[in-house]
């Protein structure tokens, strides 16, 4: 997937105070500097290659994170909860929050 045509969305929900912390971000990767685009491309590859598994049913007050990656030919979402974020997911969330625009709190 080429990062040039990639769009990322992040939806954060749940948590101790979901009505306060829930938020949504959107990021058009094409608008970013080349080095950041490449970094995101690598992270997306790692994220999509990482194994998927089940959620922890004992979690209480945890926040959930859904990252949706959209390109011309592909759309895929990855969901994880507090305490269960893989390193690429965590880094991607930071980048989306830093460079993306918040569309909803």
């Amino acid at each position: 997937m080429s990062s040039g045509e990639m769009k990322l969305e992040l939806e954060i929900s749940g948590g101790f105070a979901p009505s306060v912390t829930s938020s949504r971000y959107a990021l058009d990767v094409a608008s970013l500097p080349e080095d950041t685009r490449k970094q995101i491309e690598e992270l997306v590859k790692e994220l999509l290659a990482a194994p998927r598994s089940t959620t922890n049913p004992q979690l209480r007050d945890a926040m959930s994170y859904e990252v949706t990656i959209t390109s011309a030919a592909h759309k895929e979402s990855v969901i994880a909860d507090d305490g269960g974020l893989s390193p690429p997911m965590r880094d991607l969330i930071k980048l989306i929050k830093s460079f993306g625009s918040r569309t909803k709190r």
């Binding site: 101790f16 829930s22 922890n56 979690l59 926040m63 994880a80 305490g83 269960g84 709190r105």
Partner: protein, 400 residues
């Protein structure tokens, strides 16, 4: 779904090994730190398992770990203070340690409960979790606290009711086990708010009338408009700000919010609709008067432990609290009537207690038992219990 593991497991070594081979230096560093932290935790657990009597039953066993602003999966950290350790220079560590201690003491001294599982379970907490992490959560084993982003929140260890809230999730898990969806999930959240508030009231020696009934008042940054995250006294009024919106909690069944049972629907509004049972507790406590942890707290706790189940809805829980109120304090007692009336005020009519005299308890606690029906449901419950005991004794004698 991203890689996710039970808290009782360590991240599979093959994943860590794969990360160690990554070209990304940061990934390698994280994998190495996780492996080191995992090894440390495993070693600590192994040592503790060899010393089962190091601390006697009934003693507090608190351990605070520092995640050092990382987010290891499962949540791990460096051990920074144990039960016999002195205060350290880090306020978050001491706040978590003291908060767990106060909550433990409340459950032990007020409700005769020995820790989360009733059997002296050790209390582990992780502080400094994540980078500017705006949350606190319970993962089935450990309480996890973030530092906040200093934009919305400060450190979550600053609020005793937040610490007690998280610990109470463990108590609920070990008692009623309310499933974390829809109404049972909202009851789960409500138990954490109710006992979270009671722990704070108990520490501050506040009676029901003087308590603030707020949850998370100390974690909001000073610049944010709002008193707290939730209010049991007046759900829906805890905050109202351009930056974060308005507190959405309902106080009455008429305003119950039917949200989707998804992560993004707050599992059917578990943190939203909890405002209704929260408010019922507040109303009952104020009507009964005195310390909320006494009669009202005992009625709720008894119900949580012995008189409700994982799939209970508000109506089931309300019915049970009124039944327990009658059993603990007598049929048509001011306590039972207050509980029944509190549920009525939030839009839940309790079934099967039509014989209770309908008069309300006054705020001064005046009691009028005229007309009370001695054959109330509570009486019948007591008789059935007594009969069951008699049958059991007779059966034992017969077998002997």
């Amino acid at each position: 779904m991203a890689d996710r593991h039970s808290v009782n497991c360590i991240v599979p070594p093959h994943i860590l090994r794969k990360l160690m081979d990554s070209k990304d230096r940061k990934l390698r560093e994280i994998a190495l730190n996780t492996m080191l932290a995992s090894t440390q935790i495993r070693a600590q657990r192994n040592i503790l398992s060899l010393l089962p009597n190091a601390l006697g039953a009934g003693e507090k066993r608190r351990t605070i770990f520092d995640a050092k602003n990382m987010e290891p999966d499962p949540p791990l950290g460096v051990r920074v203070r144990g039960e016999n350790g002195s205060p350290v220079g880090d306020p978050a560590v001491n706040e978590a340690f003291d908060g767990l201690g106060t909550t433990y003491d409340f459950y032990k001294q007020v409700l005769s409960r020995n820790s989360i599982d009733g059997n002296g379970m050790r209390l582990d907490a992780i502080v400094h979790y994540g980078d500017s992490f705006n949350n606190a959560f319970w993962n089935g084993q450990v309480m996890v606290f973030g530092d906040g982003d200093e934009d919305l929140f400060t450190s979550f260890t600053k609020s005793l009711d937040v610490i007690a809230h998280e610990l109470t999730h463990g108590v609920t898990e070990n008692t009623a086990g309310f499933v974390y969806h829809k109404q049972p999930g909202a009851l789960n959240e409500s138990m954490s708010d109710v006992f979270g508030s009671l722990v704070k009231q108990w520490l501050l020696k506040q009676d029901a009338a003087s308590a603030d009934w707020l949850i998370g008042a100390d974690v909001f940054t000073p610049g944010l408009e709002g008193d707290a995250l939730r209010s049991l006294k007046a759900p829906g009024t805890a905050y109202d700000s351009e930056m974060i919106g308005k507190d959405p909690q309902p106080a009455h069944m008429e305003d119950f919010q039917n949200l989707p049972d998804t992560r993004f629907g707050d599992n059917g509004g578990v943190h939203i609709n909890s405002g209704i049972p929260n408010h019922a507790f507040y109303l009952a406590a104020v009507a009964i008067g005195g310390n909320a942890w006494d009669a009202t707290g005992h009625i709720w706790y008894e119900t949580l432990c012995k008189n409700t189940g994982p799939d209970a809805k508000f109506q089931d829980f309300a019915d049970a609290t009124v039944g327990v109120g009658g059993r603990l304090y007598g049929p048509a007692s001011p306590e039972q009537v207050a509980v029944r009336d509190a549920w009525h005020e939030v839009g839940i009519e309790v079934k099967g207690v039509g014989s209770i005299r309908p008069a309300k308890v006054t705020t001064t606690g005046a009691r009028d038992t005229k007309g009370a029906d001695k054959e109330s449901l509570s009486d019948l419950h007591a008789k059935v219990d007594a009969l069951a005991r008699t049958v059991e004794q007779l059966t034992k004698k017969r077998v002997a």
